[in-house]
């Protein structure tokens, strides 16, 4: 079973994404902030990281940067954020994100993108 780490500070969205991905047959690990996200990434290997940009303690850009700089260079990263301004998107891609979705988003679209990213990794 594929393991996906979801970092999102909005509990409702976190639970909804998790529910949706569980139904698709993925194992989902949920975290509410950037610090916890980095800790989980250190502890375990994941097949995909879905992260928000604005989170407490450490933001999404920093998470991407650390993940790409230190280790697990192959873990695909999907950014899911309401901050869809051009500079945010470009910065995320520049740091090493593989995909970007702007909120509000469609869960169907999210599932398709997740499937694609996991296939690319394989």
């Amino acid at each position: 079973m594929k393991r996906i780490l979801v970092a999102e500070d909005n509990k409702l969205i976190l639970e909804t994404i998790s529910h949706s991905l569980n139904r698709e047959g993925y194992e989902v690990i949920k975290v509410l902030d950037g610090k916890e996200c980095l800790r989980k990434l250190e502890e375990t290997d994941f097949d995909l990281l879905i992260t928000d940009l604005y989170m407490p303690y450490i933001n999404g850009h920093q998470v991407i940067s650390v993940l790409r700089d230190e280790r697990k260079k192959n873990t695909p990263i999907l950014v899911l954020s309401a901050a869809g301004a051009e500079e945010n998107v470009l910065k995320a891609f520049d740091l090493g994100a593989d995909d970007f979705m702007v909120k509000p988003f469609s869960l169907v679209e999210l599932n398709i993108r997740v499937r694609k990213l996991l296939a690319l990794k394989r």
């Binding site: 409702l12 639970e15 949706s20 909120k103 509000p104 469609s106």
Partner: protein, 491 residues
């Protein structure tokens, strides 16, 4: 710290303070036990109190207290001079200690003198209406021992603090209880609605699981959850969320809010309807477009833009209230965010509302609506300086060369700000025909206008720059200095 324990500690401190004050009051020689007007006499009286054998002196002191004068003691011939000497010795020793604070504040002045000084001050400096209570306070202060007033003050102050602490404690408890309640129900509603949105349960089952939804607070929580879903999710779920809002009759709550006398309820109502039940909102929003409250009006106007993507600014036709600058910014932001089709803003240029006309001029300039040229020329004669300024600016930015002669004709009648804008506009739309006009400005007295004219001539074209350099020959114009100034990147 536990609030109850804290309160009891405060009570103990209060009792301690009161007992200390009472001790002070009954301590022989305490300054607080004397009346201020007869303070000196009182002090003598106290010293006599120590020496029990001298009753006559004490009587004199009491008399002095009543008449507010020390002189009585001095005027009376006391036969027992020995006793008097003894009393004086004692009193001077005690006075040294007891009067220290009094002397520190007041120097050598008699208490009666302070009273009269205070009254004179009141008569001189205070308004008539304040004088009466002011004199009453002075009288009271002189009739009661200060320490008693001080104790009363401490007592009421402590009572006040106690009351505030109790209010804080209970309001905090109430808030915590409400927060806990909200958290529990929010989580429950989120879970139920998520299950329903994902099709895990049907509507009947979901409805049975949505507990206490008849309560006003619970309905508010439910609306918050729906908002949260709608803010983050699109697609099929979006329409399902609107369906839930309608099925639970939550729109009635929103409608009720719009009828509230409180502006924030109205705003909430408009916001909820716009996002969750646009069909009803369309009918409601129009009536708040000219609301006397700025915030309600702004919410209604931005809602209108969201609800009418095909004609987002049609409310201008009925807008008679001000269209505030920050609402203009919000409207522009919304308009761009939702990528709505740009209407022709010239159609609203006949609006009697100057805010609308100015906004339209800005939008015409931003979206480069060249077809609105005639409407722009018409506003050059407007009474408002800002409207004329925006019109000149539009002519410049849209490169409307036909408008050049119009703005040049207006130049002598314009304000300084608009004159500068006309000169600046020539930088974009000027040519060799305008050199004489600009030269005449360079020969004028205003340094600002001369600077702008030099700038325009310098940057308009190579010909104009040459013409400007020719003016260097006229040494009194000091053209070199102006050129240095305008070519400096800091300017």
């Amino acid at each position: 710290m536990n609030p109850i324990k804290f309160t009891s500690v405060k009570l103990i401190i209060l009792i301690g303070c009161m007992s200390c004050a009472i001790n002070l009051l009954y301590t022989p020689g305490s300054y607080g036990s004397t009346n201020i007007p007869g303070s000196i006499a009182g002090e003598i009286g106290q010293s006599i109190q120590i020496n029990d054998s001298v009753k006559q002196a004490r009587e004199l002191a009491v008399q002095a207290l009543k008449t507010d004068s020390v002189k009585i003691i001095r005027d009376k011939n006391i036969s027992t001079t020995k006793t008097e000497d003894h009393v004086k010795k004692n009193s001077s020793r005690l006075n040294k200690r007891n009067n220290y604070l009094f002397l520190l504040i007041n120097g050598n002045k008699n208490a009666g003198e302070i009273k009269s000084d205070l009254i004179i001050y009141g008569n001189k400096h205070l308004p008539l209406s304040f004088r009466r209570p002011y004199f009453r306070i002075i009288e009271k202060a002189y009739n009661y021992p200060v320490i008693l007033l001080f104790i009363l003050f401490i007592f009421f102050f402590s009572l006040n603090i106690l009351f505030v602490l109790l209010v804080l404690y209970y309001s905090n408890q109430r808030k915590n209880r409400k927060d806990r309640y909200t958290r529990i129900f929010q989580k429950m509603y989120e879970d139920v609605l998520r299950s329903y949105l994902f099709g895990d349960i049907d509507w009947e089952k979901a409805l049975a699981k949505l507990k206490k939804i008849k309560k006003s607070l619970n309905r508010k929580i439910l609306i918050t959850v729906l908002f949260n879903f709608q803010d983050n999710l699109t697609g099929e779920m979006d329409s399902q969320i609107v369906g839930i809002f309608v099925k639970l009759n939550l729109y009635n709550d929103a409608l009720k809010s719009t009828r509230s006398s409180h502006y924030y309820n109205k705003i909430n109502g408009i916001h909820e309807l716009t996002n969750l039940y646009p069909e009803v909102a369309e009918k409601i929003v129009q009536q708040f477009i000219n609301d006397p409250n700025d915030l309600v009006r702004a919410e209604a106007q931005t809602s209108y833009i969201r609800l009418h993507p095909d004609k987002p600014f049609d409310f201008f036709k009925s807008l008679t209230s001000p269209f505030t600058r920050w609402t203009q910014v919000s409207a522009f932001y919304l308009f761009r965010l939702h990528q709505l089709p740009v209407p022709s803003f010239a159609q609203y240029m006949d609006s009697p509302n100057p805010n609308v006309r100015n906004f339209c001029l800005r939008m015409i300039t931003y979206y480069q609506q060249l077809e609105s040229a005639n409407e722009i020329y018409r506003t050059l004669d407007n009474q408002l300086e800002l409207t004329r300024f925006l019109s000149i600016h539009a002519i410049s930015e849209l490169r409307l060369f036909q408008g050049k002669d119009l703005i040049k004709k207006r130049y002598p009648f314009e304000t300084q700000k608009n004159r500068i804008e006309i000169i600046t506009a020539l930088k974009n739309i000027g040519n060799a025909d305008d050199f004489d006009f600009l030269e005449s400005i360079i020969h004028s007295d205003s340094i600002t206008l001369r600077t702008e004219a030099c700038r325009t001539m310098y940057y308009m074209s190579s010909e104009s720059r040459e013409r400007l350099f020719l003016l260097k020959q006229e040494s009194h114009l000091k053209i070199e200095q102006y050129i240095d100034y305008i070519t400096d990147p800091r300017n």
